[in-house]
Symmetry: C2
Subunit: 116 residues, 2 copies
């Protein structure tokens, strides 16, 4: 992408704007480290394949760290990096904004005859 | 959506997470009021239809206000509401975060052999 067309918000939302990415980051924000199955059981509806892909993308972006322990059975742990934690702060702020203004938005929609 | 499944971040990103919405909000943040054609000429690549739809959605969410002046020719002006301005603050913060961490993310991707 040329510098002229570079839009940092689009770039970041294009990467972190899907719901699974947001779920994984916020879930990882609740504990120091988490294992794959722990994440999977706590993120309702995510498939094994989708969780694997989401974790890989986050790792490649340097937002989470994956640690492999060659035990029997092998253990794999995930945790937010410093950059990932700073993104979590942004997501929490956005979440707070959404909660604060949710009723106003729903009220506005009602004026237009929209149900939600 | 039941309260149990309510995810404010998903809800807000589902609404404002597309690039045209972000472009319109940030563009409206640069001036007090803007007219349709002014927005269209300043948002590269947006179609008349897409701009119309994006503005309508934002108006229905109460994030922008549309004012119609029955002049000849008619004049229509758009501006951010207070809620829209508060969302702009969030988007600017997210943009700052993306700019601050862009190089780190690109470096992380390089380690995985990704070009961007």
């Amino acid at each position: 992408m040329s510098e002229e067309n570079f839009c940092p918000i689009k770039d970041v939302l294009g990467r972190i704007g899907d719901k699974w990415t947001i779920y994984v980051i916020t879930k990882l924000g609740t504990k120091e480290v988490m294992r794959f199955n722990e994440l999977k059981s706590q993120i309702h509806g995510i498939s094994q394949k989708m969780l694997t892909q989401t974790l890989r993308n986050l790792e490649q972006d340097g937002l989470i760290e994956r640690r492999y322990f060659a035990e029997i059975p092998p253990r794999v742990e995930y945790q937010l990096t410093a950059v990932g934690k700073s993104l979590l702060v942004q997501l929490n702020n956005l979440s707070d904004w959404a909660l604060q203004h949710r009723n106003e938005i729903l009220e506005a929609r009602k004026k237009f005859g929209l149900k939600s």
